[in-house]
């Protein structure tokens, strides 16, 4: 059975089209439609219910060292109030999950993980805990809203006076519409924006305040097109337990000069595949799982594919053999029809200035 987020009734009231996603019932879109929701976030502002995300707290004297052993990246330089994107890998170098690490103190970290991986992550971390370090799953006690788009700050200023100024930083115990929140300057759209966390039973107060400020609610559909345009990976697509960070072009989150961490040995070896960005030349949309060819030879598969509302064309990410010449004319098998595609740089869309 699917769970409901604390904002479920709001989505139903607003005529959101509800679908099961990662174990939750969430709106894929509102009557506004994916393209309009997408464009609102790119040009103005929009908000998403992301209460389904998992939140874990890692705490203890050796929490920093423990986390450094669990992730491929580095957090030694983080100070309380800073956030880092990280990848947690298996011994073979493939990915357990990607996560955001919020440093609360030298001995306490708040980890935000994918909803669909939360239980797996909690188990994995628990199996690799250092002595004196504890892990707690606090997901059910948190609601979360992502306020995204170039106008995010203008909106937030009206209901919050003390918000984080710098990208990838956060503030705790901040007052948002009278509710005590954790606010971070983060997001999954490639735009400026904030993620607001608070008690699950109070998140509706903030949602309603933002609705009153005319912030349009946006669904999972726009969340996916926005993140794909921004070149951001999604677990199960660009990264997974069959894909390494190196293959996914996420080498900057793998720090091989760090002492032992899980997956290090495997990640010192050269990668077999690489992630590329493609735009369709022919009509049609390459979707996840479509085979990618150069001439007659199959060179890989599509990780994610959609229509890009900003570029007004079909775009995709694909995982191909590492030695595939990037200037190749790619052919993608879309339901038995081979459509032409060509490589384009990441990201598909750059942040609005």
């Amino acid at each position: 059975m699917e769970l409901k987020t604390p904002l479920y009734d709001m989505h139903v009231q607003a005529n959101g089209k509800i679908v099961p996603f990662a174990g939750y019932l969430l709106p894929i879109q509102y009557p506004t439609g994916i393209i309009t929701e997408h464009q609102l976030v790119r040009t103005s502002v929009g908000m998403f219910d992301v209460s389904h995300m998992g939140e874990l707290v890692l705490e203890g004297k050796d929490a920093t060292e423990n986390l450094r052993y669990l992730i491929a990246g580095e957090i030694n330089d983080l100070v309380p109030g800073q956030i880092r994107y990280a990848l947690m890998c298996y011994k073979n170098g493939t990915v357990v999950d990607d996560l955001l690490i919020y440093k609360m103190s030298d001995t306490k970290y708040f980890l935000v993980v994918n909803a669909s991986n939360k239980d797996k992550d909690a188990k994995w971390i628990s199996e690799h805990l250092f002595e004196g370090v504890t892990l707690s799953d606090v997901s059910d006690s948190f609601g979360q809203i992502a306020l995204q788009g170039p106008q995010s700050q203008k909106v937030l200023e009206q209901i919050c006076s003390d918000f984080p100024q710098k990208y990838y930083t956060f503030k705790e115990k901040v007052d948002v519409s009278g509710v005590e929140c954790l606010v971070s300057r983060t997001g999954y759209t490639g735009e400026d924006g904030f993620e607001i966390y608070c008690d699950a039973d109070k998140i509706d107060i903030i949602w309603k305040a933002l609705i009153d400020l005319k912030v349009p609610p946006c669904g999972l559909g726009a969340r996916d097109t926005l993140r794909l345009e921004a070149g951001m990976p999604l677990y199960g697509h660009e990264i997974s337990d069959e894909i390494t960070p190196l293959e996914a072009n996420l080498k900057m989150f793998v720090k091989l000069d760090k002492e032992a961490f899980i997956g290090k040995d495997a990640l010192t070896l050269p990668r077999a595949r690489k992630r590329i960005a493609l735009k369709m030349v022919d009509r049609g949309i390459a979707r996840e799982g479509c085979d990618v060819y150069v001439g007659e030879e199959k060179v890989g598969f599509v990780c994610s594919g959609t229509h890009s509302p900003t570029c007004n064309m079909a775009i995709a990410t694909a995982l191909v053999h590492v030695d595939t010449p990037i200037e190749s004319e790619f052919l993608i098998d879309v339901r038995g029809r081979k459509i032409k595609a060509e490589k384009t740089p990441f990201p598909f869309v750059k942040k609005a200035k």
Partner: protein
């Protein structure tokens, strides 16, 4: 949701209009476009293709997914709506104006239902 009384419908959400000259015009219903969301491509068949009732004859791409469109009747395609190549959003704006194909040699109408029956079906699904 809009359903026009003078059209016939299928369980798979296509509509058919029978013209006075015995040909038929085919499209997808307002309910279908609303379920699909923003439509970004319509992959139309070719003129002179034969379509067979109940079989897929083209597909529609929305941002979310690709969906097959099934032939509500059998017949020969005599025209395709090329406006949809450049303006697929026309289907979202006016599902009954944005026809897909015109069909001659029409036969096999077994799958069709009345507007009334279609409304009942959609109410059940919705």
């Amino acid at each position: 949701m809009k359903v026009l009384d003078n059209l016939f419908y299928t369980e798979s959400h296509e509509w058919v209009k029978f013209e006075d000259d015995g040909t038929a015009t085919v499209g997808i219903t307002d309910f279908a476009q609303s379920e699909l969301g923003d439509i970004v491509y319509v992959n139309l068949p070719e003129v002179d293709d034969v379509m067979e009732a109940g079989k897929r004859f083209c597909d529609v791409e929305s941002v979310k997914a690709v969906s097959d469109v099934y032939a509500p009747i059998s017949g020969t395609i005599m025209a395709v709506n090329e406006d949809l190549m450049d303006s697929p959003e026309g289907v979202n704006e006016d599902a009954y104006g944005a026809w897909f194909v015109k069909v001659s040699d029409v036969n096999n109408k077994d799958r069709l239902m009345s507007a009334e029956a279609y409304v009942a079906l959609v109410e059940k699904e919705g």
